[in-house]
């Protein structure tokens, strides 16, 4: 059973996909990631956090007219995938995701103890 799972899982993970462009911004409270995933609807977006790995996957949901013949294609694959390694101070329980018109906005908060603190220096 396990073996069968391993076999059926393999091709999915190896399926060729596009690398979506991203912007990553960090502020005192956490990290915000923006990813361009045009054509992906909410129900076809797959986000996964596995230990310190963040996986973003999306399948395009395009309605193409019947009998259409492609004459020029810059986007030649119907799916996106990108993997990031997160660092320890990020709290993956506090992850907010929002998908609007093909742009994913992902906010990952820093763990309380990792937020910057100002250290007061006292005069001796």
């Amino acid at each position: 059973m396990d073996q069968k799972n391993a076999v059926t899982r393999e091709p999915h993970e190896a399926a060729p996909s596009l690398l979506p462009p991203v912007d990553v911004v960090e502020d005192a409270g956490g990290i915000t990631l923006y990813a361009d995933l045009p054509g992906v609807s909410k129900d076809r977006l797959h986000l996964e956090v596995d230990a310190d790995t963040l996986i973003i996957e999306g399948e395009m949901d395009m309605r193409i007219p019947e009998g259409m013949e492609a004459t020029h294609a810059e986007v030649a694959l119907p799916r996106y995938r990108r993997v990031f390694t997160l660092s320890k101070e990020l709290d993956t329980d506090k992850l907010e995701a929002e998908l609007r018109q093909g742009v994913l906005k992902l906010r990952i908060q820093k763990a309380e103890h990792a937020k910057p603190r100002r250290i007061t220096v006292r005069a001796a």
Partner: protein, 145 residues
Amino acid sequence: MDRSLFSRDLFAELDSLQRQMQQAFEFSPSIRGFARGGFPAMNVGSTPASAEIYAFAPGLKPESIEVNLERGVLSISGERASELPAPDAEASLHVQERFAGRFHRVVTLADDLDPDGVEARYRDGVLHVSIRRLASAQPRRINVN
């Protein structure tokens, strides 16, 4: 294969192969070009009754996209605002790959299209423009009496 038993310069062969491939993939390279890597990325297709253009332009307001069709030339323009913090904000930018700013792309299409039969929809960040072919240009079955 049948051209010559003794192949010419290997690089010349490769060059010619590359050009043939390009011809095969890009049916009719337009004089305005089809710059790859531009924003938005575009796919173009055709059916007997219409031309279908898909522009992958995520994160726009539908009302801010300008689509014009003039004599078989379709132009798509607009602006994508940057969501990044101002440079003086207390934030650091680790990765910056997404397009920001004004964009303008032009596609030359066939000239049998009906300027009154254009429909544009924006969904999940993809602009889909469907242009009907002129009725006179569509294949018709001619009855033989």
